[in-house]
Amino acid sequence: MIYLLKTPLQEGDVRKLKVGDTVYLTGVVVTARDAAHRRFIEYLKEGKSIPIDLRGGAIYHCGPIVKRINNEFKIVVGGPTTSARMELYEADVIKRLGVRLIIGKGGMGSKTAKACREFGAVYTIFTGGAGVLAANTIKRIIKVEWLDLGIPEALWVLEVENFGPLLVTIDTTGRNLTKEIIEGAKRKYKEILKKLEVI
């Protein structure tokens, strides 16, 4: 199924999404990668406030190339980065900040999948390396926070239009497509080694 969704997302919007569905997202997306995720957790621990309300929001694992033209920022290329590195933090981010949609690449693990099921969120992938295609859907930069972390690590709050195709690989039923594909490959492993005369 193909869904056109708008932020802020309601719990019902994401509970209906299933592994294999495709989403095109319109509204607000916030980029966050390693350093921003670390800071989310640090701030939550210390009770400090996060500068952006992420309730019903979408987080994008992305470290963009940003060009400064006449003192104004422009995101020229912004494809996804490997989500596995954010596995350490994402479950807490979903639980505590109320994020409903995660966008990245490469898939995420069981901790994130569990949080998605419990709190109503999905993980989707955008095509790795397709940085111009992604940047092309950005209408404008609403604002930037935590720029002290550096351009790729800052929180870029973006207005996007029909950002996608985003493939749902973790839904709210506990399914995790990446895990299923690797398990499938493991089942074929022995047969493949036999064919190659390794065993």
Partner: protein
């Protein structure tokens, strides 16, 4: 020949080559991706490759780097014994990276491994990496490879008991692709370097993955057969483009080797993501140059 003129020519050629490499996918790679799209049976995997092809087209049209990870810049240099000046080569190649970072732009990727400090210009200790080989003639030729981090992350070095021979090589390659899964942005090129020593195996693997043209056959018939056998086997794993399930896990397997010590069988495995970026510059002794892919 005036050194200053050559210095400027090398710098200019390198900036042009970096720009070409990060914006335009070489024709052999584009052809391989289109073939992968046509041969793919999984709808999800096809959709990923479709986005890849659309992105390539958009990057060309907008003259923007096709992926935000413009990598660590690697130079593979071949310099003729009769080239008039060796002294200017390194300096010009390093300078070109600094300039290109601002003008194209490239993402500033070089980070100090201990302090985390980022100089912001893609320069650092031993980076850009410059590998120099000497060749006959009076020309300077170098290939620029902006090597991304995602695919590098899953590199492997294995040192099996040499008695295991080719079986160990096959198993190491299948294991590496299975372990890498969706991380290196498949469909990938798997570079395999055998023998030499630990460093040589990885060096050969990286060159095989990044420099050798897709669609080219290995000149050694034994290795050619092994490459094709591994290609078929790896695409049976079902990982597919971006790991969403499908046939397009690898675009090719490229193998190179060096003679080995009898006590070791080094196996280096290096992945190159689908965004295979490379461009070559050839500079004549009078400073005229051409950049091609």
């Amino acid at each position: 020949m005036n050194n200053r003129i050559l210095e400027e020519a090398i710098e200019k050629a390198a900036i042009e080559a970096i720009a070409k490499a990060v914006i335009y996918i070489p024709p052999d790679v584009k052809k391989a991706l289109i073939e992968a799209f046509n041969n793919e049976v999984s709808e999800a995997s096809r959709l990923q490759i479709k986005a890849i092809l659309k992105n390539i087209e958009l990057a060309e049209k907008m003259k923007m780097p096709l992926c935000q990870d413009t990598g660590i810049i690697m130079y593979y240099v071949r310099v003729g014994y009769e080239f008039p000046s060796f002294k200017v080569i390194e300096k010009s190649l390093v300078n070109a990276v600094k300039i290109a970072t601002n003008t194209i732009p490239l993402r500033p990727n070089t980070v100090h491994p201990f302090t985390g400090e980022n100089p912001g210009n893609n320069i650092g200790r031993y980076i850009p990496y410059i590998n120099i080989e000497f060749i006959d003639g009076d020309e300077l030729e170098f290939t620029v490879v902006p090597k991304g981090g995602g695919s590098e992350y899953v590199s492997v070095l294995k040192m099996p008991p040499p008695g295991e021979g080719v079986r160990a090589i096959k198993k190491a390659v299948v294991d590496a692709v299975l372990r890498a899964g969706s991380i290196p942005c498949p469909p990938t090129v798997v570079g395999v370097g055998i023998g030499g020593g630990s460093d040589i195996a990885l060096h050969l693997a990286k060159k095989a993955a990044c420099l050798r043209k897709l669609g080219s056959s290995n000149p050694d018939p034994v290795l050619d057969k092994l490459e094709k056998e591994l290609y078929e086997a790896l695409n049976e794993l079902g990982i597919g483009a971006m790991g969403v399930g499908g046939r397009s896990t690898v675009l090719a397997v490229h193998i190179d080797y060096a003679h080995r010590h009898p006590a070791t069988l080094p196996i280096g495995i290096v992945f190159q993501c689908w965004a295979i970026r490379r461009a070559t510059a050839r500079i004549s002794r009078d400073g005229s140059f051409k950049v091609f892919q």
